[in-house]
Symmetry: D2
Subunit: 339 residues, 4 copies
């Protein structure tokens, strides 16, 4: 049994981690931290997770004294790197669900997050935790930056076609729709039921959202050259689910069936990415799971292909993918606890 800790366990990604780990047979919870609820029982916060009812929230500072094999950081950008550094010194491995280890280049991080990276020396050894594209590096790494929800959904759909050299420069438009849990647990006008229900709207369109940086970094790796995307996230009236509709200008004429084959081949042996042939994905397919559902369609006489990608933003888009990374880092079967 490996000992697992969670820093920031009361938000939606922390709660979802607890839910998934409760079913995992090779790990046990060493600690769950909450600054606001320290000293209180997990029973109150999570009546539906009786496995943890004997445990008590501690502060992040206290948790450093606990023996741990791997720690999940559910902390905002700027805070994760500090905790990562401390736990690494303790000999633990780290999966950061925040943004501090998603970039290799501290200057790119600074550009998108508006502050210098606090521990740039850690970035060298860190890995972008998209297992389908970085499996070996994740297995060997001590620090993994778990991808953002939008980048996970978009990259899984685009990367096979970019790697194959099929996508024109400046030819990527990602129109994405997310459930409200992606906005976090803090009450605000934009998460108020009455404001969100029966409403749908875009926010931070074009190149404003921080996830643009992450998407472009990973695309560039496969393309071998810089790539720019246009990305518009939307908030949809649902708790979970993330849908990306991706318009790709192709740089050559290619049949829909061939594009489908590129996708299918890329994920042929992947347990968590399913390429659909005859139907389009829905977010409901992926709810409460680590699955990503993909397909692609061409638009006649236009040179454009449309990729459709559906995940659960708290599943493959956050906590379930984090456990997939944990499985790789600790030598467990990749699917353990995730089926």
């Amino acid at each position: 049994m490996k000992k697992i800790g969670i820093i920031g366990a009361t938000g939606y990604t922390g709660e979802e981690l607890l839910r998934v780990l409760a079913r995992h047979q090779q790990v046990e919870l060493a600690f769950a931290t909450s600054e606001q609820e320290q000293g209180q029982s997990l029973a109150k916060a999570f009546p539906n997770l009786p496995k943890y009812h004997e445990q008590v929230f501690c502060s992040a500072q206290e948790s450093l004294a606990r023996e741990t094999d791997l720690v999940f950081l559910c902390t905002p950008a700027g805070q994760s790197a500090k905790w990562a550094e401390a736990f690494l010194r303790n000999g633990a491995k780290v999966v950061d669900l925040g943004a501090d280890f998603r970039f290799q280049d501290p200057q790119v991080y600074e550009r998108w997050y508006g502050m210098p990276h606090s521990h740039p020396q850690l970035l060298q050894g860190s890995v972008y935790g998209l297992p389908e594209w970085n499996r070996a590096a994740i297995q060997a790494s001590k620090v993994v930056g778990n991808p953002g929800c939008y980048p996970t959904s978009a990259l899984l759909g685009i990367l096979p076609l970019v790697r194959a050299g099929l996508v024109a420069e400046n030819g990527i438009v990602i129109d994405a729709k997310s459930g409200v849990s992606g906005a976090g647990k803090s009450p605000s006008r934009s998460t108020h039921y009455v404001e969100v229900n029966e409403s749908l709207s875009a926010y931070k369109p074009g190149r404003q959202h921080r996830h643009v940086g992450e998407i472009e970094q990973e695309l560039a790796k496969q393309a071998g050259r810089p790539m720019q995307v246009i990305f518009t996230p939307h908030l949809a009236p649902m708790s979970r689910g993330l849908y990306s509709t991706i318009y790709l200008r192709l740089n050559k004429v290619i049949a829909e069936s061939e594009l489908l084959t590129f996708l299918a081949d890329a994920y042929e042996r992947e347990p968590f990415v399913h390429v659909l042939a005859d139907e389009l994905p829905t977010t409901k397919m992926a709810a409460h799971s680590n699955y990503c559902f993909l397909t692609v369609r061409t638009v006649p006489d236009s040179g454009v292909a449309i990729v459709f990608s559906a995940i659960d933003n708290l599943g493959k888009g956050a906590s379930w993918q984090a456990v997939q990374n944990m499985n790789l880092m600790l030598g467990f079967p990749e699917e353990m606890g995730l089926i």
Copy 2:
């Protein structure tokens, strides 16, 4: 054209008032107050109400200087009485959507609201604004306490049977279900989309909710004796709508058809209360309207009848009923702007 003011215009009841009044042909908006947004255009807060786009929020204090025929108070218990006093001195009439004028007896108010009434001398002249049961008094009054959403729904269903002397002592159980707008516009955990969506729960069961006092006061008036109710409100995952399922122990054997006749007769000439014969009401029937839909069923061999009552909590349960009261107080046709 009469001049109308709204104190506290940015909450849900204030916004709904603005929406309804925009269609009313005999009134114009003298002012809308907001302490937080004073000086700002109504255009920003209400892009969908262009009729008011030239107007600007003022503070409640400033509004006292404006000439007004009638003022709606969308203010919490304890604040309304103060503003009512000031506007009455100015010669305006007042409809309070808060609780300060729902009780005749200041001690009953204090019992349910946990503070002494600030202007008990005003209570004598005030009227409980349920037009179907207090029409003449409302027409003659300068201060009307607009009923709470739960009491409106429950009382319209129970009063005809209580007046007829059919309901046993201690024989009333009201199980009510409300949409989330009833909880107000302030963001909180209990209005967070992800917490509320796909969830339903009771709160303040038994005799804890403040609306119990209001319901019992009005029942006693018709019964000619004190009456106690058991009342359990629930929060349902919808923006609007309020449903009361009311279990009544009858004190004599009476056929369902007779009970239906009591209801139908009570509201025969009422434009806003519809008694259904063959089907049960739904909250959707009443959405965005001033209607209340009622029916009653008996339970064989039990001595119990069940009354079903559906309204829109922001409609007949708040702002639309407030406009109905305004129509009565200002001498307009009662249905003006409400059909």
Copy 3:
């Protein structure tokens, strides 16, 4: 008082027409037809529309005998033209909420609807009922084809920029999201609550949806040349609302503020189209109204502008716009009954 009829009054567009017309002071309902419910009272189908409770559904065939000034057709493609022909012969005017009068060229109709137009001779005199762009023709016409919901939303956003010659050839991608009422009232798997709730998905992507033809026809009129669009509709878990996120490749460098001015100028005197400057629209803004909310943003260094357009699919996207057309055709003030 003008006499109005509705063919097919029990679907969502028919019901919404009844709701809007109930508030209109210059019209009265001559008939409402339903083949399935003929002979039954409207009271049962529409408990919340007491104004019509004395009326009874008749068959469409019977309705031909009633005197009428204007008839709304809520009938599927292929049926509307037949009824239009009959009512025109009777001297009535016609607004078709179906597709039979949205195309000038019967061959284009046939291409998108898979059948020859039954009454091509009527197309000459018919007008595409987008009042902001066809007002004079609508006023003079006896037959108006009410635009589809997606085309209304997209065209209002794109037309000002296309007219100004700013949009590159093959440079239009429309990513649209609709509420479920757009799928009609017939129960099916894709309208089942449990299948739709917490789910979002695309359908008929690229150039498959019939509304593509309508959009391209109207764009070509303003552009003076054929234009092709890529269009992907999505189903979102909400009852009403339609959001279009429109990616436009520009054919010259132009500042965001200038684009905003193009939009603002185009709709400066329009009562129902509001151009937002500082915020993006939401579908909630437009709910239960005839408004369209628009804005535009540029994407730095990309040559792309993004237009955002929000309507209520049953409002400006169907029945409310149909009443706007009726107002124009019958000589009423354009906003009557719609504010």
Copy 4:
């Protein structure tokens, strides 16, 4: 590994069984039947359940030839008994999620289901599958009638107090609210998204719903005398979740804390029933789980206690409880696959 079959695998209870069984380590799917989809791959119906993607739906008739240890029947009343008889002859055990084995007395069955029981001789050996109250009998049985969703929720809350002799005759009112999946997967007006969304309504109030019979049978067993309940189910706008608010007239004065102790003691060692002390349950607590959350409150000076009970109607209310029964019948740890 035990071999499991599912008759009627494409409805909501069948799908949920497949989802739960996919995580169970001691069983494998022998067959899943669907008359409409026989011959088709499960991959198409359940893209999110890759474990079964190699399997193909067969007809119920064909499934009789497969070797099976236990069969789940997701079939309507009147059909289950026939299949049960056939599988029992084959040596398999049976858990019926329909109603054919919920009654011991065929005449009671006939009264509530309007038809004679097709195999009354099987009822003797069958057991009502509420494990917390019938564990030993379930373990020894070959045929278990899985309780209805409403009865599960109500009985778990009421039985401890009835057993203790605390509840007055004719003193039980159950006001229950269910998510839409309880209405099944067949599209109809009452499951149409637009009809259900933003709506809440009662149906079959009093003593009309078939679940009344089941509830009264089990209450009588613990009370040692016949008991009558009043039961009003409601449809709430959510996919899953079932909430019962139960008003109990007590036949003696008893403190709230004592009532809580009765509940807590009754379920002290139960893994799936949690008695809350300080807060009321919500349906969200129980979502996607086999948990039932309970608590009780007294109403001062009324002689009434209110029990609150929340489950997932597809969880403890159907498929998860069916797997709990399977675990007992096949000798597995009761919680296997359910945590």
